[in-house]
Protein backbone atom coordinates (compact mmCIF):
# COMPACT_ATOMS: atom_id res chain seq x y z
CA UNK A 1 0.00 0.00 0.00
CA UNK A 2 1.15 3.48 -0.88
CA UNK A 3 -0.17 6.57 0.84
CA UNK A 4 -0.46 10.09 -0.51
CA UNK A 5 -0.18 13.71 0.54
CA UNK A 6 -0.39 14.27 4.28
CA UNK A 7 1.63 11.22 5.26
CA UNK A 8 5.01 12.94 4.76
CA UNK A 9 7.40 14.50 7.27
CA UNK A 10 11.00 15.64 7.39
CA UNK A 11 13.56 12.81 7.83
CA UNK A 12 11.09 10.19 6.58
CA UNK A 13 12.95 6.97 5.81
CA UNK A 14 16.15 8.45 7.20
CA UNK A 15 17.24 5.25 8.95
CA UNK A 16 16.81 3.27 5.73
CA UNK A 17 18.60 5.98 3.78
CA UNK A 18 21.59 5.76 6.10
CA UNK A 19 21.75 2.01 6.54
CA UNK A 20 20.12 0.27 3.60
CA UNK A 21 22.10 0.28 0.35
CA UNK A 22 19.18 -0.59 -1.92
CA UNK A 23 17.02 2.18 -0.46
CA UNK A 24 19.83 4.69 -0.74
CA UNK A 25 20.68 3.63 -4.29
CA UNK A 26 17.10 4.24 -5.48
CA UNK A 27 16.76 7.52 -3.60
CA UNK A 28 19.88 8.84 -5.33
CA UNK A 29 18.81 7.52 -8.73
CA UNK A 30 15.41 9.18 -8.47
CA UNK A 31 16.91 12.37 -7.05
CA UNK A 32 19.13 12.60 -10.13
CA UNK A 33 15.99 12.67 -12.28
CA UNK A 34 14.49 15.39 -10.08
CA UNK A 35 17.68 17.44 -10.28
CA UNK A 36 17.81 17.15 -14.05
CA UNK A 37 14.29 18.43 -14.31
CA UNK A 38 13.96 20.91 -11.42
CA UNK A 39 17.53 21.99 -11.01
CA UNK A 40 17.42 21.17 -7.31
CA UNK A 41 17.64 18.11 -5.10
CA UNK A 42 14.72 16.77 -3.08
CA UNK A 43 16.99 14.79 -0.77
CA UNK A 44 18.54 17.97 0.61
CA UNK A 45 15.32 19.42 2.05
CA UNK A 46 13.95 16.02 3.14
CA UNK A 47 17.07 15.11 5.09
CA UNK A 48 17.99 18.66 6.16
CA UNK A 49 19.60 18.20 9.61
CA UNK A 50 18.02 21.43 10.81
CA UNK A 51 14.52 20.06 10.36
CA UNK A 52 12.59 18.22 13.04
CA UNK A 53 10.49 15.20 12.13
CA UNK A 54 7.49 16.88 13.69
CA UNK A 55 7.91 20.19 11.84
CA UNK A 56 5.46 20.70 8.98
CA UNK A 57 6.88 19.57 5.60
CA UNK A 58 4.50 21.19 3.15
CA UNK A 59 6.06 22.52 -0.06
CA UNK A 60 4.36 20.49 -2.75
CA UNK A 61 7.34 20.75 -5.14
CA UNK A 62 9.33 18.83 -2.51
CA UNK A 63 6.68 16.71 -0.81
CA UNK A 64 5.16 15.37 -4.02
CA UNK A 65 8.37 13.82 -5.39
CA UNK A 66 9.66 12.93 -1.91
CA UNK A 67 6.63 10.79 -1.07
CA UNK A 68 6.91 9.00 -4.41
CA UNK A 69 10.64 8.46 -3.94
CA UNK A 70 10.54 6.94 -0.44
CA UNK A 71 7.64 4.68 -1.39
CA UNK A 72 9.21 3.40 -4.59
CA UNK A 73 12.61 2.92 -2.94
CA UNK A 74 11.11 1.00 -0.04
CA UNK A 75 9.22 -1.21 -2.49
CA UNK A 76 12.57 -2.01 -4.13
CA UNK A 77 13.96 -2.96 -0.70
CA UNK A 78 11.14 -5.46 -0.20
CA UNK A 79 11.47 -6.88 -3.71
CA UNK A 80 15.17 -7.35 -3.16
CA UNK A 81 14.37 -9.28 0.03
CA UNK A 82 12.15 -11.59 -1.98
CA UNK A 83 8.88 -10.09 -0.77
CA UNK A 84 6.70 -9.72 -3.85
CA UNK A 85 3.20 -8.31 -3.83
CA UNK A 86 0.18 -10.29 -5.00
CA UNK A 87 -1.69 -6.98 -5.20
CA UNK A 88 -0.82 -3.29 -5.24
CA UNK A 89 -2.98 -0.66 -3.56
CA UNK A 90 -2.37 3.05 -3.91
CA UNK A 91 -4.23 5.93 -2.35
CA UNK A 92 -4.17 9.42 -3.87
CA UNK A 93 -0.58 10.41 -4.75
CA UNK A 94 0.41 6.90 -3.57
CA UNK A 95 -1.17 5.57 -6.75
CA UNK A 96 1.87 6.88 -8.63
CA UNK A 97 4.30 4.58 -6.81
CA UNK A 98 1.78 1.77 -7.12
CA UNK A 99 1.54 2.42 -10.89
CA UNK A 100 5.33 2.36 -11.17
CA UNK A 101 5.48 -1.06 -9.48
CA UNK A 102 2.68 -2.33 -11.73
CA UNK A 103 4.61 -1.20 -14.81
CA UNK A 104 1.82 1.12 -15.95
CA UNK A 105 4.54 3.60 -16.89
CA UNK A 106 8.27 3.63 -16.41
CA UNK A 107 9.35 4.85 -12.98
CA UNK A 108 11.14 7.88 -14.46
CA UNK A 109 8.03 8.86 -16.41
CA UNK A 110 5.89 8.60 -13.31
CA UNK A 111 8.33 10.69 -11.29
CA UNK A 112 8.28 13.30 -14.05
CA UNK A 113 4.47 13.26 -13.94
CA UNK A 114 4.63 13.78 -10.16
CA UNK A 115 6.86 16.83 -10.68
CA UNK A 116 4.61 18.15 -13.44
CA UNK A 117 1.57 17.77 -11.22
CA UNK A 118 3.26 19.66 -8.38
CA UNK A 119 4.18 22.41 -10.83
CA UNK A 120 0.57 22.65 -12.02
CA UNK A 121 -0.68 23.03 -8.44
CA UNK A 122 1.83 25.79 -7.76
CA UNK A 123 1.05 27.59 -11.02
CA UNK A 124 -2.72 27.42 -11.14
CA UNK A 125 -4.20 26.70 -7.71
CA UNK A 126 -5.11 28.86 -4.74
CA UNK A 127 -3.70 27.68 -1.46
CA UNK A 128 -6.03 25.58 0.65
CA UNK A 129 -5.92 22.80 3.16
CA UNK A 130 -7.24 19.50 4.47
CA UNK A 131 -8.62 18.42 7.82
CA UNK A 132 -8.86 14.88 9.11
CA UNK A 133 -11.83 14.49 11.44
CA UNK A 134 -11.80 11.60 13.85
CA UNK A 135 -15.50 11.12 14.29
CA UNK A 136 -18.50 9.22 12.91
CA UNK A 137 -18.54 9.97 9.18
CA UNK A 138 -22.25 10.87 9.40
CA UNK A 139 -21.13 14.10 11.01
CA UNK A 140 -20.21 15.50 7.60
CA UNK A 141 -23.68 15.37 6.07
CA UNK A 142 -25.39 16.18 9.34
CA UNK A 143 -23.47 19.40 9.90
CA UNK A 144 -24.13 22.29 7.49
CA UNK A 145 -21.19 24.26 8.87
CA UNK A 146 -18.91 21.46 7.76
CA UNK A 147 -20.41 20.41 4.42
CA UNK A 148 -21.13 23.98 3.30
CA UNK A 149 -17.55 25.03 3.93
CA UNK A 150 -15.66 22.05 2.56
CA UNK A 151 -15.76 19.06 0.25
CA UNK A 152 -15.50 15.46 1.42
CA UNK A 153 -12.14 14.17 0.20
CA UNK A 154 -11.99 10.77 1.78
CA UNK A 155 -13.54 8.37 4.21
CA UNK A 156 -10.75 6.35 5.82
CA UNK A 157 -12.94 4.18 8.06
CA UNK A 158 -16.25 4.57 9.80
CA UNK A 159 -14.97 7.12 12.30
CA UNK A 160 -12.35 8.97 10.26
CA UNK A 161 -12.89 11.25 7.30
CA UNK A 162 -11.01 14.04 5.55
CA UNK A 163 -12.34 17.33 4.17
CA UNK A 164 -10.74 19.79 1.78
CA UNK A 165 -11.27 23.47 1.38
CA UNK A 166 -10.10 27.05 1.53
CA UNK A 167 -7.91 27.96 4.45
CA UNK A 168 -10.33 30.48 5.99
CA UNK A 169 -13.32 28.19 5.75
CA UNK A 170 -11.38 25.32 7.27
CA UNK A 171 -10.57 27.58 10.22
CA UNK A 172 -14.30 27.96 10.85
CA UNK A 173 -14.68 24.20 10.81
CA UNK A 174 -11.76 23.84 13.19
CA UNK A 175 -13.38 26.24 15.65
CA UNK A 176 -16.63 24.34 15.43
CA UNK A 177 -14.91 21.00 16.05
CA UNK A 178 -12.90 22.39 18.93
CA UNK A 179 -16.04 23.69 20.62
CA UNK A 180 -17.68 20.32 20.15
CA UNK A 181 -14.64 18.49 21.56
CA UNK A 182 -14.30 16.57 18.35
CA UNK A 183 -10.78 15.35 17.52
CA UNK A 184 -9.27 16.56 14.28
CA UNK A 185 -5.91 17.00 12.63
CA UNK A 186 -4.72 19.56 10.07
CA UNK A 187 -2.88 17.68 7.37
CA UNK A 188 0.50 19.09 6.31
CA UNK A 189 -0.73 20.17 2.87
CA UNK A 190 -1.21 23.58 1.30
CA UNK A 191 -3.82 22.63 -1.32
CA UNK A 192 -7.31 21.19 -1.07
CA UNK A 193 -6.64 17.88 -2.81
CA UNK A 194 -9.62 15.74 -3.86
CA UNK A 195 -11.86 18.77 -4.26
CA UNK A 196 -12.88 21.35 -6.86
CA UNK A 197 -10.31 23.72 -5.32
CA UNK A 198 -7.61 22.08 -7.42
CA UNK A 199 -9.62 22.05 -10.67
CA UNK A 200 -7.65 25.01 -12.10
CA UNK A 201 -4.67 22.66 -12.44
CA UNK A 202 -6.65 20.09 -14.44
CA UNK A 203 -6.36 21.42 -18.01
CA UNK A 204 -2.58 21.80 -17.94
CA UNK A 205 -1.94 18.47 -16.24
CA UNK A 206 -4.40 16.54 -18.41
CA UNK A 207 -2.82 18.04 -21.49
CA UNK A 208 0.52 16.73 -20.24
CA UNK A 209 -1.00 13.28 -19.65
CA UNK A 210 -2.38 13.10 -23.16
CA UNK A 211 1.15 12.66 -24.47
CA UNK A 212 1.62 9.61 -22.25
CA UNK A 213 0.30 6.13 -22.61
CA UNK A 214 -0.54 3.67 -19.88
CA UNK A 215 0.35 -0.03 -20.06
CA UNK A 216 -1.71 -2.85 -18.63
CA UNK A 217 -0.77 -3.47 -14.97
CA UNK A 218 1.62 -6.42 -14.59
CA UNK A 219 0.60 -6.96 -10.98
CA UNK A 220 -3.09 -7.00 -9.96
CA UNK A 221 -3.79 -3.38 -9.29
CA UNK A 222 -6.38 -2.05 -6.86
CA UNK A 223 -7.07 1.67 -7.01
CA UNK A 224 -8.72 3.93 -4.45
CA UNK A 225 -10.10 5.85 -7.43
CA UNK A 226 -12.64 3.10 -8.11
CA UNK A 227 -12.08 1.03 -4.99
CA UNK A 228 -11.76 -2.01 -7.25
CA UNK A 229 -9.28 -4.10 -9.19
CA UNK A 230 -8.39 -2.23 -12.38
CA UNK A 231 -7.45 -4.43 -15.35
CA UNK A 232 -6.63 -1.26 -17.28
CA UNK A 233 -6.15 2.39 -16.44
CA UNK A 234 -7.30 5.36 -18.51
CA UNK A 235 -4.81 8.10 -19.41
CA UNK A 236 -6.46 10.70 -17.17
CA UNK A 237 -6.19 8.29 -14.26
CA UNK A 238 -3.17 10.10 -12.78
CA UNK A 239 -5.25 13.24 -12.49
CA UNK A 240 -8.39 11.60 -11.16
CA UNK A 241 -6.52 9.88 -8.33
CA UNK A 242 -5.76 13.25 -6.72
CA UNK A 243 -9.04 14.93 -7.69
CA UNK A 244 -11.78 12.35 -7.00
CA UNK A 245 -12.64 11.15 -3.48
CA UNK A 246 -10.47 8.36 -2.03
CA UNK A 247 -12.38 5.11 -1.73
CA UNK A 248 -10.13 3.30 0.70
CA UNK A 249 -12.72 1.16 2.58
CA UNK A 250 -14.11 -0.11 -0.72
CA UNK A 251 -10.61 -1.03 -1.89
CA UNK A 252 -9.99 -3.00 1.30
CA UNK A 253 -13.33 -4.79 0.89
CA UNK A 254 -12.26 -5.74 -2.64
CA UNK A 255 -9.01 -7.20 -1.31
CA UNK A 256 -10.47 -8.93 1.75
CA UNK A 257 -13.31 -10.66 -0.13
CA UNK A 258 -13.07 -13.87 1.88
CA UNK A 259 -9.25 -13.85 1.88
CA UNK A 260 -6.75 -13.19 4.60
CA UNK A 261 -4.15 -10.70 3.46
CA UNK A 262 -0.97 -9.20 4.79
CA UNK A 263 -1.09 -5.46 4.14
CA UNK A 264 2.24 -3.64 4.07
CA UNK A 265 2.12 0.15 4.25
CA UNK A 266 5.11 1.46 2.28
CA UNK A 267 4.12 5.09 2.80
CA UNK A 268 6.06 7.32 5.17
CA UNK A 269 3.43 7.74 7.88
CA UNK A 270 2.04 4.30 8.60
CA UNK A 271 -1.45 5.78 8.26
CA UNK A 272 -2.73 3.23 5.77
CA UNK A 273 -1.60 0.34 7.98
CA UNK A 274 -3.85 1.77 10.66
CA UNK A 275 -6.73 2.54 8.28
CA UNK A 276 -6.58 -0.97 6.83
CA UNK A 277 -6.94 -2.53 10.30
CA UNK A 278 -9.94 -0.32 10.97
CA UNK A 279 -11.60 -1.74 7.86
CA UNK A 280 -11.16 -5.43 8.73
CA UNK A 281 -14.47 -6.98 9.64
CA UNK A 282 -15.76 -10.14 11.29
CA UNK A 283 -13.61 -13.21 10.93
CA UNK A 284 -10.76 -11.59 9.01
CA UNK A 285 -7.34 -12.92 9.98
CA UNK A 286 -5.65 -10.27 7.90
CA UNK A 287 -2.80 -8.28 9.33
CA UNK A 288 -1.37 -4.90 8.57
CA UNK A 289 2.13 -3.47 9.11
CA UNK A 290 4.08 -0.30 8.48
CA UNK A 291 7.82 0.09 7.87
CA UNK A 292 8.38 3.83 8.02
CA UNK A 293 6.88 5.69 10.95
CA UNK A 294 7.55 8.92 12.78
CA UNK A 295 9.19 6.85 15.53
CA UNK A 296 12.37 6.02 13.66
CA UNK A 297 12.11 2.22 13.84
CA UNK A 298 12.32 1.59 10.10
CA UNK A 299 15.00 -1.12 10.18
CA UNK A 300 13.42 -2.94 13.12
CA UNK A 301 10.03 -2.85 11.42
CA UNK A 302 11.55 -4.07 8.18
CA UNK A 303 13.19 -7.04 9.92
CA UNK A 304 9.90 -7.92 11.58
CA UNK A 305 8.13 -7.87 8.22
CA UNK A 306 10.84 -10.02 6.60
CA UNK A 307 10.14 -12.57 9.33
CA UNK A 308 6.54 -12.88 8.10
CA UNK A 309 7.74 -14.18 4.75
CA UNK A 310 9.91 -17.30 4.96
CA UNK A 311 12.98 -17.19 2.74
CA UNK A 312 12.64 -19.12 -0.49
CA UNK A 313 15.63 -21.35 -1.04
CA UNK A 314 16.18 -23.56 -4.07
CA UNK A 315 17.34 -27.06 -3.27
Amino acid sequence: MFSGQGSQYYQMGRELFEHHTVFRKWMFLLDDIVRDLMGESVLLPVYDQERQRTGPFVHVRHTHPAIFMVEYSLAQVLLESGIEPDYLLGSSLGEFASAALAGIMRVEDLLKAVLKQAECFETYCEKGGMLAVIHDTALYNATPLIHENSELASISYDSHFVVSGETEKLKQIERYLKNGNILFQCLPVTYGFHSSYIDPAAPAFNKYLQQKSCQTPRIPFVSCLSGTLMPDVPTDYLWKVVRRPIQFPKAIRELENGRDCIYLDLGPGGTLANFAKRNFVGESNSESHAVMTLFNQDIKNLEKIKGLFPAKISF
Partner: protein, 295 residues
Protein backbone atom coordinates in the same frame (compact mmCIF):
# COMPACT_ATOMS: atom_id res chain seq x y z
CA UNK B 1 22.20 -14.04 -26.14
CA UNK B 2 19.32 -15.25 -24.05
CA UNK B 3 19.18 -18.02 -21.47
CA UNK B 4 15.89 -19.24 -20.05
CA UNK B 5 16.20 -20.57 -16.51
CA UNK B 6 13.67 -22.81 -14.79
CA UNK B 7 13.14 -22.85 -11.02
CA UNK B 8 13.18 -26.00 -8.89
CA UNK B 9 11.94 -27.04 -5.49
CA UNK B 10 11.57 -24.07 -3.15
CA UNK B 11 9.91 -21.84 -5.76
CA UNK B 12 6.44 -23.41 -5.56
CA UNK B 13 3.64 -21.25 -4.34
CA UNK B 14 -0.10 -21.60 -4.11
CA UNK B 15 -1.70 -19.90 -7.12
CA UNK B 16 1.17 -20.73 -9.45
CA UNK B 17 0.21 -21.36 -13.04
CA UNK B 18 -2.84 -19.09 -12.88
CA UNK B 19 -4.68 -19.30 -16.19
CA UNK B 20 -2.10 -21.63 -17.82
CA UNK B 21 -4.16 -24.75 -17.11
CA UNK B 22 -7.09 -23.33 -19.08
CA UNK B 23 -4.86 -21.92 -21.79
CA UNK B 24 -3.19 -25.34 -22.35
CA UNK B 25 -6.20 -27.44 -21.47
CA UNK B 26 -5.16 -30.50 -23.49
CA UNK B 27 -1.84 -30.78 -21.68
CA UNK B 28 -3.48 -30.14 -18.31
CA UNK B 29 -5.91 -33.00 -18.99
CA UNK B 30 -3.00 -35.28 -19.92
CA UNK B 31 -1.21 -34.27 -16.73
CA UNK B 32 -4.31 -35.16 -14.69
CA UNK B 33 -4.42 -38.58 -16.35
CA UNK B 34 -0.77 -39.30 -15.64
CA UNK B 35 -0.84 -38.01 -12.07
CA UNK B 36 -4.29 -39.21 -11.06
CA UNK B 37 -5.29 -35.89 -9.57
CA UNK B 38 -6.12 -32.40 -10.80
CA UNK B 39 -2.91 -30.45 -11.33
CA UNK B 40 -4.90 -27.23 -11.56
CA UNK B 41 -6.54 -27.79 -8.19
CA UNK B 42 -3.21 -28.71 -6.60
CA UNK B 43 -1.51 -25.54 -7.86
CA UNK B 44 -4.36 -23.08 -7.41
CA UNK B 45 -6.17 -24.36 -4.33
CA UNK B 46 -3.83 -26.76 -2.54
CA UNK B 47 -6.70 -27.65 -0.22
CA UNK B 48 -4.78 -30.50 1.49
CA UNK B 49 -1.47 -28.62 1.87
CA UNK B 50 0.36 -30.98 -0.47
CA UNK B 51 2.12 -28.47 -2.68
CA UNK B 52 5.22 -28.36 -0.47
CA UNK B 53 5.53 -32.15 -0.27
CA UNK B 54 8.26 -33.32 -2.63
CA UNK B 55 6.03 -35.97 -4.25
CA UNK B 56 3.58 -33.24 -5.35
CA UNK B 57 5.96 -30.26 -5.65
CA UNK B 58 8.03 -31.80 -8.40
CA UNK B 59 5.30 -32.66 -10.94
CA UNK B 60 3.52 -29.38 -10.14
CA UNK B 61 6.60 -27.23 -10.77
CA UNK B 62 7.55 -29.18 -13.87
CA UNK B 63 4.08 -28.65 -15.31
CA UNK B 64 3.91 -24.93 -14.49
CA UNK B 65 7.43 -24.35 -15.85
CA UNK B 66 6.70 -26.27 -19.06
CA UNK B 67 3.40 -24.47 -19.69
CA UNK B 68 5.02 -21.11 -18.88
CA UNK B 69 7.64 -21.91 -21.48
CA UNK B 70 5.04 -22.81 -24.10
CA UNK B 71 3.18 -19.59 -23.43
CA UNK B 72 6.39 -17.61 -23.68
CA UNK B 73 7.24 -19.15 -27.06
CA UNK B 74 3.68 -18.60 -28.26
CA UNK B 75 3.87 -14.93 -27.30
CA UNK B 76 7.32 -14.14 -28.64
CA UNK B 77 7.85 -16.79 -31.30
CA UNK B 78 11.49 -16.84 -30.25
CA UNK B 79 13.45 -19.64 -28.65
CA UNK B 80 16.32 -18.99 -26.24
CA UNK B 81 19.98 -19.63 -27.09
CA UNK B 82 20.55 -21.64 -23.89
CA UNK B 83 18.45 -23.20 -21.17
CA UNK B 84 19.23 -24.30 -17.63
CA UNK B 85 17.16 -25.34 -14.63
CA UNK B 86 17.86 -25.63 -10.95
CA UNK B 87 17.74 -29.29 -9.82
CA UNK B 88 14.17 -30.35 -10.69
CA UNK B 89 14.06 -27.31 -13.00
CA UNK B 90 16.58 -29.10 -15.23
CA UNK B 91 13.73 -31.31 -16.47
CA UNK B 92 11.87 -28.23 -17.71
CA UNK B 93 15.06 -27.13 -19.47
CA UNK B 94 15.34 -30.54 -21.14
CA UNK B 95 11.68 -30.34 -22.16
CA UNK B 96 12.35 -26.90 -23.69
CA UNK B 97 15.33 -28.38 -25.53
CA UNK B 98 13.07 -31.04 -27.06
CA UNK B 99 14.71 -34.00 -25.33
CA UNK B 100 11.30 -35.40 -24.38
CA UNK B 101 7.68 -34.36 -24.83
CA UNK B 102 5.61 -32.93 -21.99
CA UNK B 103 4.03 -36.24 -20.96
CA UNK B 104 7.29 -38.20 -20.97
CA UNK B 105 8.97 -35.53 -18.87
CA UNK B 106 6.09 -35.54 -16.42
CA UNK B 107 6.25 -39.34 -16.02
CA UNK B 108 9.97 -39.14 -15.25
CA UNK B 109 9.50 -36.26 -12.82
CA UNK B 110 6.63 -38.04 -11.11
CA UNK B 111 8.89 -41.02 -10.45
CA UNK B 112 11.75 -38.80 -9.33
CA UNK B 113 9.50 -36.91 -6.91
CA UNK B 114 8.14 -40.14 -5.48
CA UNK B 115 11.59 -41.69 -4.99
CA UNK B 116 13.04 -38.58 -3.43
CA UNK B 117 10.07 -38.18 -1.10
CA UNK B 118 10.73 -41.70 0.19
CA UNK B 119 14.20 -40.74 1.40
CA UNK B 120 13.81 -40.39 5.15
CA UNK B 121 16.03 -39.34 8.04
CA UNK B 122 17.84 -36.67 6.04
CA UNK B 123 17.86 -32.93 6.26
CA UNK B 124 19.03 -29.82 4.47
CA UNK B 125 19.88 -26.28 5.49
CA UNK B 126 20.78 -23.07 3.71
CA UNK B 127 23.92 -21.32 4.92
CA UNK B 128 23.77 -17.66 3.99
CA UNK B 129 26.64 -15.21 4.19
CA UNK B 130 29.65 -17.54 3.91
CA UNK B 131 31.52 -18.60 0.79
CA UNK B 132 32.33 -22.13 -0.28
CA UNK B 133 35.84 -22.12 1.20
CA UNK B 134 34.66 -21.01 4.63
CA UNK B 135 31.89 -23.59 4.67
CA UNK B 136 34.28 -26.37 3.74
CA UNK B 137 36.67 -25.19 6.46
CA UNK B 138 33.91 -25.21 9.08
CA UNK B 139 32.85 -28.70 8.01
CA UNK B 140 36.44 -29.89 8.38
CA UNK B 141 37.29 -28.11 11.64
CA UNK B 142 34.18 -29.45 13.33
CA UNK B 143 34.52 -32.94 11.81
CA UNK B 144 31.03 -32.70 10.33
CA UNK B 145 31.96 -35.64 8.11
CA UNK B 146 28.39 -36.65 7.33
CA UNK B 147 27.54 -33.22 5.89
CA UNK B 148 28.15 -32.22 2.29
CA UNK B 149 27.36 -29.35 0.00
CA UNK B 150 24.15 -29.99 -1.96
CA UNK B 151 23.73 -26.70 -3.83
CA UNK B 152 26.12 -23.95 -4.76
CA UNK B 153 23.32 -21.43 -5.22
CA UNK B 154 25.34 -18.21 -5.20
CA UNK B 155 28.72 -17.13 -3.81
CA UNK B 156 27.07 -16.45 -0.46
CA UNK B 157 24.20 -18.94 -0.44
CA UNK B 158 25.08 -22.58 -0.10
CA UNK B 159 22.77 -25.44 0.84
CA UNK B 160 24.16 -28.36 2.82
CA UNK B 161 22.65 -31.80 3.35
CA UNK B 162 23.18 -34.79 5.59
CA UNK B 163 21.52 -36.90 8.28
CA UNK B 164 18.69 -35.00 9.94
CA UNK B 165 20.24 -34.93 13.42
CA UNK B 166 23.60 -33.74 12.10
CA UNK B 167 21.97 -30.95 10.08
CA UNK B 168 20.04 -29.95 13.19
CA UNK B 169 23.18 -29.90 15.31
CA UNK B 170 25.46 -28.09 12.85
CA UNK B 171 23.63 -24.78 12.95
CA UNK B 172 25.66 -23.25 15.77
CA UNK B 173 28.97 -24.00 14.01
CA UNK B 174 27.90 -21.87 11.05
CA UNK B 175 26.15 -19.22 13.07
CA UNK B 176 29.29 -18.72 15.15
CA UNK B 177 31.06 -17.83 11.91
CA UNK B 178 28.44 -15.17 11.23
CA UNK B 179 26.18 -17.12 8.88
CA UNK B 180 22.43 -17.11 8.75
CA UNK B 181 21.34 -20.78 9.04
CA UNK B 182 17.96 -21.83 7.68
CA UNK B 183 16.94 -25.49 8.00
CA UNK B 184 14.71 -26.48 5.06
CA UNK B 185 11.43 -28.31 5.20
CA UNK B 186 12.45 -31.55 3.56
CA UNK B 187 12.84 -35.16 4.73
CA UNK B 188 15.76 -36.24 2.55
CA UNK B 189 19.40 -35.24 2.19
CA UNK B 190 19.01 -34.35 -1.49
CA UNK B 191 22.07 -34.20 -3.75
CA UNK B 192 24.17 -36.30 -1.39
CA UNK B 193 25.52 -39.82 -0.95
CA UNK B 194 22.46 -40.59 1.23
CA UNK B 195 20.29 -40.60 -1.90
CA UNK B 196 22.14 -43.58 -3.37
CA UNK B 197 19.23 -46.02 -3.23
CA UNK B 198 16.81 -43.50 -4.80
CA UNK B 199 19.35 -42.96 -7.52
CA UNK B 200 19.77 -46.67 -8.23
CA UNK B 201 16.02 -47.24 -8.60
CA UNK B 202 15.69 -44.11 -10.73
CA UNK B 203 18.52 -45.20 -12.98
CA UNK B 204 16.73 -48.48 -13.65
CA UNK B 205 13.51 -46.63 -14.34
CA UNK B 206 15.21 -44.29 -16.84
CA UNK B 207 16.43 -47.22 -18.92
CA UNK B 208 12.97 -47.60 -20.47
CA UNK B 209 13.17 -44.10 -22.03
CA UNK B 210 14.95 -42.83 -25.11
CA UNK B 211 15.89 -39.21 -25.50
CA UNK B 212 15.54 -37.01 -28.56
CA UNK B 213 18.26 -34.74 -29.96
CA UNK B 214 19.07 -31.66 -27.90
CA UNK B 215 17.71 -28.76 -29.96
CA UNK B 216 18.99 -26.09 -27.52
CA UNK B 217 22.12 -26.45 -25.38
CA UNK B 218 21.18 -27.35 -21.77
CA UNK B 219 23.66 -26.47 -19.03
CA UNK B 220 23.84 -29.42 -16.63
CA UNK B 221 23.74 -28.90 -12.88
CA UNK B 222 26.37 -31.46 -12.05
CA UNK B 223 28.95 -30.42 -14.68
CA UNK B 224 28.10 -26.72 -15.13
CA UNK B 225 28.70 -27.36 -18.84
CA UNK B 226 26.40 -28.26 -21.75
CA UNK B 227 24.72 -31.66 -21.70
CA UNK B 228 26.15 -34.30 -24.00
CA UNK B 229 23.58 -36.23 -26.00
CA UNK B 230 25.06 -39.61 -25.06
CA UNK B 231 24.97 -38.90 -21.31
CA UNK B 232 21.46 -37.64 -20.73
CA UNK B 233 20.19 -40.63 -18.76
CA UNK B 234 23.32 -41.00 -16.68
CA UNK B 235 23.36 -37.31 -15.97
CA UNK B 236 19.79 -37.32 -14.68
CA UNK B 237 20.49 -40.24 -12.37
CA UNK B 238 23.75 -38.73 -11.11
CA UNK B 239 22.07 -35.41 -10.38
CA UNK B 240 20.21 -37.02 -7.46
CA UNK B 241 23.43 -37.74 -5.56
CA UNK B 242 25.59 -34.86 -6.85
CA UNK B 243 25.85 -31.17 -5.99
CA UNK B 244 24.00 -28.59 -8.05
CA UNK B 245 26.71 -26.27 -9.37
CA UNK B 246 24.42 -23.33 -10.01
CA UNK B 247 26.98 -20.58 -9.45
CA UNK B 248 29.43 -22.18 -11.85
CA UNK B 249 26.68 -22.82 -14.42
CA UNK B 250 25.75 -19.15 -14.45
CA UNK B 251 29.41 -18.10 -14.56
CA UNK B 252 29.89 -20.41 -17.55
CA UNK B 253 26.95 -18.77 -19.33
CA UNK B 254 28.24 -15.30 -18.43
CA UNK B 255 31.53 -16.27 -20.03
CA UNK B 256 29.91 -16.98 -23.38
CA UNK B 257 29.32 -13.28 -24.03
CA UNK B 258 26.62 -10.70 -23.40
CA UNK B 259 23.97 -12.86 -21.71
CA UNK B 260 20.44 -12.07 -20.59
CA UNK B 261 18.65 -14.42 -18.20
CA UNK B 262 14.92 -14.84 -17.97
CA UNK B 263 13.26 -16.96 -15.32
CA UNK B 264 10.41 -19.05 -16.71
CA UNK B 265 8.07 -20.34 -14.01
CA UNK B 266 6.81 -19.17 -10.64
CA UNK B 267 8.63 -16.55 -8.56
CA UNK B 268 11.99 -14.89 -8.88
CA UNK B 269 14.20 -17.06 -6.67
CA UNK B 270 16.72 -17.85 -9.43
CA UNK B 271 16.71 -14.30 -10.77
CA UNK B 272 17.89 -13.05 -7.39
CA UNK B 273 20.56 -15.75 -7.20
CA UNK B 274 21.80 -14.71 -10.64
CA UNK B 275 21.90 -11.05 -9.60
CA UNK B 276 24.10 -12.07 -6.67
CA UNK B 277 26.33 -14.24 -8.88
CA UNK B 278 26.74 -11.44 -11.42
CA UNK B 279 27.58 -9.02 -8.63
CA UNK B 280 30.00 -11.17 -6.68
CA UNK B 281 31.78 -13.34 -9.22
CA UNK B 282 33.49 -13.23 -12.57
CA UNK B 283 32.44 -14.92 -15.82
CA UNK B 284 34.36 -18.13 -16.52
CA UNK B 285 36.99 -17.29 -19.08
CA UNK B 286 36.57 -18.54 -22.62
CA UNK B 287 34.37 -21.20 -24.01
CA UNK B 288 35.58 -24.20 -22.13
CA UNK B 289 33.37 -27.19 -22.67
CA UNK B 290 35.88 -29.57 -21.21
CA UNK B 291 35.15 -30.97 -17.82
CA UNK B 292 37.36 -31.11 -14.81
CA UNK B 293 38.50 -34.45 -13.46
CA UNK B 294 35.84 -36.59 -11.84
CA UNK B 295 32.53 -35.38 -10.54
Amino acid sequence: MMTFIFPGQGSQQKGMGGTLFDEFKELAVKADEILGYSIKKLCLEDASQQLSQTRFTQPALYTVNALSYLRKIKETGKKPDYVAGHSLGEYSALFAAGVFDFETGLKIVQKRGLLMSQAAGGGMAAVIGLNEGKIEAIIKENSLTSIGIANYNSPSQIVISGPKTDIGGAGTCFEKAGAHYIPLNVSGAFHSRYMQSSKATFEEFLKSFTFEELAIPVISNIHARPYKQSEIGRNLADQITHSVKWTESIRYLMGLGEMTFEEIGPGKVLTRLIQAIQRDSEPLAGRDDARGPGV
